[in-house]
């Protein structure tokens, strides 16, 4: 989908010829700035093409001239002393004026594009508040009262207007394929950016401004979906957590603490089905993710997880009494706002700021020892035998692997 | 022997392209650089003016919403006007000291150098008084943006005055030890340039920080 843009291809082809290495052109480039999928991206691209064309001409002219001079005027034995010219006013005026003219060709469309792209967004635009945190993204849809993290759903064909703020240091919001970027500088004075996605797909987003230890691990995903899918997504996100905590509680307590694993498993099998599997949650089908949006980050050495399956119902109970609630919101369950909102965490494709795929194993290991999984993270380790990373916040839980697997199962069920 | 600067400037075997001594050119380059230094400090003060989230404030009273405590406007313009006058007078004394050294007038060179130093020290005394009374009134360098920018700006100016006073005292010491004559004029000239520059900076600070509300 990224390969059908001739200008980019031409550019690559031209430069790689110069470079005599065809390798770069062969690789798939999912995050390229070329062939953008929004009018903002197109505006940026048009200028970039212009600059590359003019730059390419200057490159060929200057380097060609240099090559010619170097080959033609090399000293040969018996060369007489060359003519001692000191300058040539006509020539010098010419090569002052030509660059000036070229720059005028760049300046005019530049200024026009600046004002075009920084106009006020249309009034009926979808509002999205982006809040940068060290090192994850909070996304809010104020028109729909939905808060999510690290994954952003946008409808195709509708202008989205971002207000960008930071919670701590400066970050930068960049989705190369949709256009960008804009820094998140202030806490109370937002920056703005708007564009209209043109096609439905999955895009990678990055933090582009160095923001501390895990700057490289502050990634996000953008899903541009058809309008009706987006509406379904929003409706689903507006609903409460998919796991019916109220139902699970009596079930679990009735069985008592020493409940037979079989019974617990039955609960686990039945309860997550509560929202109904046929219901359209609007989320991107996890099996249709392109390769570049599935994280490949290797697990840290020295971190183990012995439990393989968890019990969501037990996990729900554990979660309610855990320190997790101080930082994470699950609608109707916990109020914390320091970390990402987990109300529908199970519907996301990644965890840890786009660092790991959102599956039971990674989720469990994340809960067990987040500081090992992501350098500098402020979420403390929870596992009983989780190694304490030097400099990380002190461990806050003493959960066994089984208990952690239970919590992971619970969180995964929050589709 | 005079200061090394003097030695460097006056050694006759040193040819200079402009005919001016090196120190004179160097001090102008230094002053040019210092202009940008103080301009940045003053600009920061002005940019942050009115942006402090808590008081006390320079020109307006403030009531701490937490404690109900009242704070007066911090800046005391009459007192600072007096200290500004003192510093201006020191520049006059500096001019007279320079002219006495050029004339070779040993007696008045000492008197005017001492007066300049004394007036400079008086200005510093005013500043010490100002700083302590501000701290008593509740404004410290850590209190708010006003405190940070104000103390840093005026503090750096005060440090420049202090260096100037030390320079004056050193020169006075040399005067007492062996007397300053016309061949020392260039050194006093360079010192005077520095002193007048520091004075001019203060005029800018007094106008932009104290007078304009």
């Amino acid at each position: 989908m990224t390969g059908h843009h001739r200008a980019r291809r031409l550019y690559h082809a031209a430069l790689t010829t110069v470079f005599a290495l065809g390798l770069a052109a062969c690789s798939d480039v999912p995050n390229t700035i070329f062939g953008a999928h929004s009018e903002f991206g197109h505006a940026e691209d048009r200028l970039t093409y212009l600059l590359l064309t003019l730059g390419g001409l200057v490159f060929v002219l200057v380097e060609g001239l240099l090559l010619f001079v170097v080959l033609k005027f090399r000293a040969r034995p018996g060369n007489p002393t060359p003519k001692q010219t000191h300058g040539n006013t006509t020539l010098e005026v010419t090569w002052t004026l030509i660059p000036a003219l070229i720059l005028a060709f760049i300046a005019v469309p530049t200024v026009r594009t600046i004002f075009q792209t920084q106009e006020k967004a249309p009034a009926d635009a979808l509002q999205v508040e982006v809040i940068g945190h060290q090192w994850w993204w909070e996304f809010r849809y104020p028109q729909y009262k939905v808060t999510t993290a690290n994954e952003l759903y946008l409808p195709v064909g509708r202008t989205v207007s971002f207000t960008l703020q930071t919670n701590d240091v400066i970050h930068s919001f960049w989705i190369p394929q949709l256009g960008g970027k804009r820094d998140l500088v202030h806490r109370n004075k937002p920056n703005y950016l708007w564009f209209t996605p043109e096609s439905s797909f999955v895009w990678n987003g990055f933090c582009a401004e160095y923001c501390g230890t895990s700057h490289s691990n502050m990634r996000f995903r953008v899903f541009t979906v058809p309008q009706q899918e987006f509406e379904a997504y929003i409706a689903h996100q507006q609903s409460g957590p998919a796991f019916p905590v109220a139902q699970a509680t009596p079930a679990d307590t009735a069985k008592g603490k020493g409940a037979a694993p079989v019974a617990a498993q039955q609960v686990a099998q039945t309860t997550p089905a509560a929202p109904g599997p046929s219901e359209n949650t609007g989320t991107w089908p996890h099996d249709k993710l392109p390769a570049w949006s599935v994280p490949n980050t290797p697990l840290p050495a020295g971190l183990t997880m012995t439990a393989e399956e968890g019990d969501a119902a037990r996990g729900a109970q554990l979660f309610k009494a855990s320190p997790c609630i101080a930082c994470h919101t699950i609608q109707g369950v916990s109020p914390g706002t320091i970390g990402p909102n987990l109300t529908h965490v199970g519907s996301r494709t990644t965890i840890g700021g786009g660092l790991y795929p959102n599956d039971l194993k990674h989720l469990a290991m994340w809960i067990k020892d987040a500081p090992m999984m992501k350098p500098g993270v402020i979420m403390p380790a929870m596992g009983k035998d989780a190694p304490q990373v030097p400099g990380a916040p002190p461990k806050m839980g003493q959960y066994t692997d089984q208990q952690i697997a239970d919590i992971a199962a619970y969180l995964s069920s929050l589709k | 022997m005079a200061t090394a600067a003097l030695a460097e400037a006056h050694d006759e075997h040193h040819y200079t392209s402009t005919g001016l001594p090196h120190t004179k050119i160097a001090i102008w380059a230094f002053i040019g650089s210092e202009c940008f230094f103080f301009a940045s400090l003053i600009a920061t003060y002005l940019i942050y003016k009115g942006r402090s989230v808590v008081g006390p404030f320079p020109h307006t009273p403030w009531v701490d919403p937490a404690t109900g405590q009242h704070f007066k406007p911090i800046l005391n313009i009459p007192v600072t006007s007096a200290s500004t006058f003192v510093l201006l007078m020191s520049s006059l004394a500096m001019v007279l000291a320079h002219s006495a050294v050029v004339r070779g007038d040993r007696k008045w060179s000492k008197i005017w150098l001492a007066s300049t130093a004394l007036l400079g020290a008086t200005f510093l005394g005013f500043q010490a008084y100002e700083f302590t009374s501000f701290v008593h009134e509740g404004l410290k360098i850590t209190t708010n943006l006003f405190g940070s920018t104000f103390f840093t700006l005026t503090g750096f100016h005060g440090a420049h005055v202090t260096a100037g006073v030390l320079w004056l005292v050193t020169m006075l010491f040399i005067d007492f030890k062996r007397g300053l004559g016309p061949r020392d004029a260039i050194n006093v000239d360079v010192m005077a340039l520095y002193w007048h520059f520091v004075d001019v900076v203060w005029i800018a600070i007094f106008t932009l920080v104290y007078l304009i509300q």
Partner: protein, 646 residues
């Protein structure tokens, strides 16, 4: 007035500072200080290079695990800080020191002791910054250390303490040198050395020094605020207290953009010396080259916010800074064309310095083109903070500054040491550098345009960046080999290179009229300059005739490169002749030279004590002790005459 050659005086007793280690610690000789700068800066260049190579190894493939995220962040911060403040700037300073007095026909700089002080402060600051490695607390905020990440809240460790204090110390060194060289160039030009006769390197130095003294105040203020915030709890960058994080960016880039020209103009100057010599033609359009230097410097103060197009300044500011940035491309382009004009119709000899000079012209052009791409804010929004920018500034700083500085090193090494560097190794160095440099940095253009953000410790697989990064790392390995060859060449040539004589290249400027290495007093008679290229100017043959040469110097050695005898060097028969003893001493000529002194070094030590006291739990008695040592040394220094009584 110029001293005439007097009858040799009886040599007095040797000063204790005239030999051994003391002769270096107490030196006030601009040539020795220049060499100190040169070798110290090269050492830091190697350190910064090792840091860069570790970065490249980490990025070789996706999810690299060579170093931790914390270490990686320290590495790229220190790589940038080291290369800018401890390698390229002091390498330029080495040439300012060594060359400017020689080029303007002076015996030393205006304030020789201040010059020594500048060097010692630079050495102290660079060591101070790097001592942080021993505490596993090297600076980690990036070389431009944006607020509020640089504040105590977000960088609680010692890391940024080292950075903020280290940068303050280094700034002091540059400022002191700036005043010194401005005075030197204005006031110590030999008779007849009008401004428009000055060698272009001296012009580049002159302009650079103005940039330094006028732009360093901004960083001094920015860093002072940060220091106060971190150590005394002020609020300059405290967001909760109402501070604006952009204050830092504006102050930093008000310094930072002129700094870019501080890094490149000296290299331009060196190349403008090398190209005419090996083209056997005067510099094409000398006046325009001078005016363009001045214009670049002037415009350089008006473009700082082009580093901030993504911060949301609004369309008007974006347009203004975009256009001023485009304007600065014009005088820069003129320089490129004038260099081509210099070579056009010449008789080019491809010595190593010439190859590096041509390397600058070709590679800086690429950096200039990508620079113009950044000047268009909407286009820049896709490029800023991506690897495209990393590619851009390495083409400017490595392809520009370092290529120019290497050209300068090969060109002036014979003047500095009296010996030529090996042309064979030099050419290996050049070609490996040229190839390695392009392999390392060209793919970064692609990586950036393909969405790779800069300063990332790891990147994921399947992002389309693997091949670019593989090639970059291979290129970096080639650069390591190239640099090793350079070091070997430097060490070997210093010990046993062919003797150079006064003027091995047939160069046009007056520094080539005196022996290599020059005697302490440079010129036995202060020369009178009649033209821009006195050594070439047949209208003034008496100029070189009136300069007393050493016996070794009179036998001119020429490197015949190009044509059949490429690389062959003719040396005088008496290679055993010790050039140092071959020419009369200052004593014998009756020239009064500054007395060596360690007082500038003592003053520096006082500063060091203070700064260590500051970082060491803000230990007030130590800070005061250091201050007292500094002031005492300063008084002792200023109250002692520069030269012995005469």
């Amino acid at each position: 007035m110029a001293t005439t050659v007097a009858a040799p005086r009886a040599a007095g007793p040797k000063h204790k500072y005239e030999s051994g280690i003391w002769s270096w610690l107490a030196t006030t000789d601009h040539k020795r200080i220049g060499q100190l700068y040169l070798y110290t800066a090269l050492a830091w260049f190697l350190v910064g290079g090792i840091e860069a190579f570790i970065i490249r190894l980490q990025l070789y493939g996706p999810n690299g695990r060579i170093v931790s995220a914390e270490t990686y962040n320290q590495l790229f911060t220190m790589h940038g800080t080291t290369m800018i403040f401890m390698a390229i700037m002091p390498l330029s300073a080495a040439f300012f020191n060594f060359l400017v007095p020689l080029q303007i026909g002076a015996r030393d700089v205006a304030f020789p002791r201040l010059n020594a002080f500048s060097y010692w402060v630079f050495l102290a600051g660079s060591i101070f910054m790097n001592v942080s490695w021993l505490f596993h607390a090297a600076p980690d905020g990036g070389w431009f250390a944006y607020a509020p990440l640089n504040t105590r809240v977000y960088s609680p460790g010692l890391n940024m303490d080292f950075w903020v204090i280290g940068l303050q110390i280094l700034g002091l060194s540059s400022l002191a040198a700036g005043f010194n060289f401005i005075t030197t160039i204005i006031n110590m030009r030999a008779p007849g050395m009008h401004f428009m006769r000055m060698p272009v390197f001296t012009w580049a130095t002159f302009v650079t020094q103005f940039l330094i003294v006028l732009s360093f105040p901004f960083i001094t203020v920015a860093v002072t605020f940060l220091l106060f915030d971190r150590f005394f709890g002020t609020n300059f960058y405290e967001i909760a207290a109402g501070a604006d994080p952009l204050l830092w960016q504006h102050l930093f880039w008000l310094f930072g953009h002129p700094e870019v020209y501080i890094l490149i103009l000296p290299a331009f100057g060196l190349v403008s010396e090398v190209l005419p010599t090996f083209s056997r033609k005067p510099l094409f359009g000398y006046p325009v080259m001078v005016y363009s230097l001045i214009l670049i410097a002037f415009l350089g103060f008006g473009v700082w916010a082009h580093h901030m197009f993504a911060v949301g300044m609004g369309p008007i500011a974006d347009s203004i800074f975009g256009i001023t940035t485009m304007l600065i491309a014009i005088p820069t382009g003129v320089k490129i064309f004038n260099w081509l004009g210099t070579m056009w119709g010449g008789s080019l000899r491809f010595t190593t310095p010439m190859l590096f000079a041509i390397g600058l012209v070709s590679l800086f052009t690429i950096g200039g083109i990508s620079g113009v791409m950044h000047s268009s804010p909407p286009s820049d929004l896709q490029q800023t903070d991506s690897y495209f920018v990393v590619a851009h500034f390495h083409y400017v700083l490595f392809g520009g500054s370092m290529m120019g500085l290497f050209a300068g090193i090969y060109y002036y090494f014979p003047k500095i040491t009296g010996r030529l560097m090996s042309e064979t190794l030099g050419k290996w160095h050049f070609w490996l550098t040229f190839i390695g440099m392009n392999l390392t940095f060209f793919p970064m253009h692609f990586a950036g345009l393909d969405g790779m953000p800069r300063r990332i410790w790891q990147y994921d697989a399947n992002q389309g960046w693997d091949v670019d990064n593989h090639i970059s790392t291979i290129g970096a390995a080639i650069l390591v080999v190239a640099t090793l060859i350079f070091v070997i060449n430097l060490v070997r040539s210093r010990r046993s290179g062919a003797r150079a004589g006064n003027d091995p290249w047939g160069a046009p400027t007056i520094e080539w009229s005196i022996p290599s290495p020059p005697p302490a007093y440079n010129y036995a008679t202060i020369p009178t300059v009649r033209s821009r290229y006195p050594m070439w100017d047949m209208k003034a043959p008496e100029l070189t005739a009136s300069v007393p040469h050493s016996p070794a110097g009179e036998k001119e050695v020429t490197v015949k490169v190009g044509g059949a005898t490429a690389g062959h060097i003719e040396t005088p028969a008496d290679t055993q002749l010790n050039a140092e003893n071959a020419h009369p001493s200052a004593h014998e000529l009756g020239i009064v030279m500054p007395t060596p002194t360690i007082k500038p070094l003592l003053a520096t030590l006082g500063l060091c004590v203070s700064f260590f006291g500051l970082i060491w739990h803000r230990h007030v008695p130590i800070i005061i002790l250091g201050g007292v040592i500094f002031v005492a040394a300063l008084y002792a220094w200023l109250l002692t005459p520069l030269e012995p009584e005469h």
